[in-house]
């Protein structure tokens, strides 16, 4: 009996000690890294989104860099597009911003205006070798003159067309320097008819706000003005959706529920990829994936309605955390990503046609036919297009989702075009106003 009592007390003490140790350890761990930065050992957190292919070659690029710079250790964090922004927001809120992160135009303003992104300006010409950058493109990453991000590369939104599908339908490929939106609808309807419904004319264009942007630019308007407001007339957007309804009616595009499904399934289930569609709107750097999936030689065409509306978009950008402990090291790594030949050879045009003109040349031969076509197309558009729109205002990410949802309601005819346009203007204004 006495022994039991003693045993219990001893056990009790042991429990308390264990608990105390358990609580102390994380606190101890938290305390040490704040020590003075050793010039030798640097750890950089590096975040990006993408699919497995991108993860794989990016990891190789990291390995190369670490081999060259043994004192630098890079911690990769990667996930798919939709989760990336959720994750980034929470990690930033928790004070854990990655040192180097992949950025998208829609979100730069959000983060830059809150002081999350560092000004890369001072690093240009220093740790970042910008001697062979395609300079006009730098504007894509600037807000009010401050360089918050550097474009990894550019691509252009294009009509991807499947010549074999056209042939199957007995329809001629359009002359993409002069075709109109009406032509586009017409041709789509002809293809569906000509193939007896086996192949649809086109995939619905409504899920990408860049598509809307180009449509508006063709009319001399813009989606977002410099001051961060909506810059178009409701009639223009109504026309844009009218094209969709025309296509729906003439069966140039599939019925609404099929569109939803195809969109949700991603690029490898797209109409082009499954040889069930003749045209679709895609970014030029997606040509490779489409060609592979479809097993065919696909072509890039200019937008109907005039190529002056088109523009070169920074496909994604590199940013640096404003709170990073190692700005120089981070900048050097960014420079590596942008201008190192070996990195360029691994990346090719997956992140767009590279910002660094020298890299563009050095990889030109390594590109497979599809990517070579894409790169060429980018050069063409670069020559013909007007300067790209500026960085979208804060809340642009949400505007994209508003458009998705309203587009679906229009497709299912749950909302009239007028109502949808009004709703879009209301909700988008609220989104970017806050």
């Amino acid at each position: 009996m006495r022994a039991q009592h003693i045993g219990r007390r001893r056990r009790g003490r042991w429990l308390w000690a264990a608990a105390a140790a358990g609580l102390a350890t994380p606190l101890a761990v938290a305390a040490t890294p704040a020590a003075a930065t050793q010039p030798e050992e640097v750890t950089l957190r590096f975040a990006w989104w993408g699919g497995e292919g991108r993860h794989a070659y990016t990891q190789e690029i990291i390995d190369l860099y670490e081999a060259d710079n043994p004192h630098v250790s890079i911690e990769p964090e990667f996930i798919d597009w939709s989760d990336y922004w959720n994750r980034l927001a929470t990690t930033v809120a928790g004070g854990d911003t990655p040192d180097v992160m992949q950025m998208d135009l829609r979100y730069i303003a959000e983060y830059a205006n809150r002081g999350v992104l560092a000004d890369l300006g001072p690093h240009l010409g220093a740790e970042i070798d910008d001697s062979s950058f395609d300079t006009p493109l730098l504007a894509s990453g600037q807000i009010g003159g401050t360089q918050y991000a550097l474009p990894t590369g550019v691509n252009a939104l294009a009509v991807v067309a499947d010549p074999m599908a056209f042939e199957q339908a007995g329809v001629e490929m359009p002359d993409d320097t002069s075709w109109t939106w009406d032509d586009f609808v017409e041709i789509g309807a002809q293809i569906t008819e000509g193939t007896g419904g086996d192949v649809w004319g086109a995939q619905d264009k409504g899920y990408n706000e860049s598509n809307l942007e180009i449509f508006l630019r063709q009319r001399g308007e813009v989606l977002f003005t410099e001051d961060g407001e909506l810059g178009f007339a409701p009639e223009s957007m109504a026309e844009w959706w009218q094209v969709t309804l025309d296509q729906l009616e003439s069966e140039a595009i599939p019925p609404a529920s099929q569109t939803v499904e195809v969109e949700n399934a991603g690029i490898d289930q797209s109409l082009l990829a499954t040889n069930t569609g003749a045209m679709g709107f895609w970014w030029s750097n997606q040509l490779g994936a489409l060609a592979d999936a479809s097993g065919r030689d696909l072509e890039l065409l200019r937008f109907p309605g005039g190529s002056e509306g088109m523009y070169l978009k920074a496909s994604m950008l590199w940013s640096m955390s404003a709170d990073t402990e190692h700005p120089e090291a981070a900048a050097e790594f960014i420079s590596f990503l942008l201008s190192d030949e070996r990195a360029g050879e691994l990346m090719l045009v997956d992140r767009g046609v590279p910002l660094d003109v020298d890299i563009r040349e050095s990889i030109a031969d390594a590109l497979d036919p599809a990517n070579a076509k894409a790169a060429e197309f980018v050069e063409i558009v670069g020559a013909e297009a007007e300067p790209p729109p500026g960085v979208p205002p804060q809340g642009a990410g949400e505007v994209q989702q508003i458009l998705w949802r309203l587009n679906e309601q229009v497709l299912f005819e749950q909302m009239s075009i007028e109502d949808a346009v009004a709703a879009f203007i209301d909700e988008a204004t609220a989104a970017i106003g806050g």
Binding site: A93, R114, V116, S257, V260, Q401, Q409
Partner: protein, 317 residues
């Protein structure tokens, strides 16, 4: 209370001694209880109540996550009153709960009654029907569900095989998408079924025999004996399933690809909350939404408890 009453029987001061001893034991029991509950208390404060309290505070602020919270009073709640998507998500969620829970419980009860009849191989059947319930909340099954209800998915192929020409994408059509999720919930009836099975087993055989003697057929016996005695269990299952269904998230997230679509037809309340908090980074509003959810669930549960007095028969326990 298991206080051992060691009554020694000497003279006067004994009563006082016993009382004091009892008090001491009570205090020690108090202390022991609180000692045992220490981990739970710590968890309650830091993991559960603390964050909930923090989010109550946040619901009165504008907290865009990347900036510090800013007090705005009732603004978030006012906004909710005119927020169409909020109202829509409530509709969707209520519809989901109102249809899938009764259906699910009906199947659970039906199968439990059938299996309770002394079927051979009961454990096997029980396992088979329980398995979906086990796996139903996983990401893998949600992905599978989205696939099989697609235009080219399993369901349409099966329908095609029996001659029905099915080309609708169930999951991508606003009129049907919610039903696929309802079906998913009903599919997981195994868990309440097991509870019903256990409950059925508790019903004394004598009552059935007495009813039979009185000439009651199987249906009558079910209605007059089984059902009333099962009401506590039905009630229990009802409460739990309703609470769970209101908080449904993963299935709608995966099946709609995070959008609540098509056209917001699968916008569960939890998903809308998630979109506001992690899509728009509007944590203040999300916190307000969460509190409203809490109020709704609490109210409905309270109503259920009140209504229970009318129809739940506790017998003479």
């Amino acid at each position: 209370m298991a206080v051992s009453q060691l009554t020694l029987q000497p003279a006067d001061g004994t009563k006082v001694a016993t009382v004091r001893r009892r008090d001491r034991l009570r205090r020690r029991e108090n202390a022991a209880a609180y000692a045992f509950l220490t981990p739970w208390f710590v968890g309650l404060v830091f993991i559960t109540i603390g964050p909930i309290g923090a989010s109550l505070y946040l619901s009165f602020t504008d907290y865009p996550l990347l900036d510090a919270p800013e007090w705005i009073g009732l603004e978030n709640y006012r906004r909710m009153a005119s927020d169409l998507r909020f109202r829509h998500s409530l509709e969707v969620t209520f519809k989901y709960v109102g249809i899938s829970v009764p259906l699910q419980l009906a199947f659970a009860l039906l199968l439990a009654v059938v299996l309770d009849k002394g079927i051979r191989g009961l454990p096997l059947y029980r396992a088979v029907y329980y398995l979906p319930s086990l796996l139903g909340s996983s990401v893998a099954v949600a992905i599978l569900w989205r696939q099989i209800f697609g235009t080219e998915g399993l369901v349409n192929q099966l329908l095609g095989a029996i001659g029905v020409d099915a080309t609708t994408g169930w999951v991508s059509h606003p009129d049907y998408a919610l039903w696929t999720l309802i079906l998913l919930n009903v599919w997981t009836f195994g868990s309440p079924m097991i509870i019903f099975l256990a409950g059925l087993r508790q019903i004394p055989r004598e009552l059935y025999e007495a009813a039979e003697v009185d000439g009651a057929g199987p249906l009558r016996r079910f209605w007059r004996v089984t059902l009333p005695l099962l009401t506590p269990i039905i009630f229990f299952n009802l409460v739990l399933q309703v609470i769970g269904a209101f908080q449904s998230f993963t299935q709608s997230f995966i099946v709609s690809n995070g959008s609540g679509g098509p056209a917001d037809s699968t916008l569960f309340y939890s998903l809308y909350l998630y979109q506001q908090g992690f899509g728009r980074f509007d944590m203040g509003y999300a916190a307000a939404l969460a509190w409203v959810l809490l109020m709704i669930v609490a109210t409905i549960t309270a109503i259920q408890f009140l209504a229970a007095r009318k129809w739940v028969f506790y017998g003479d326990r």
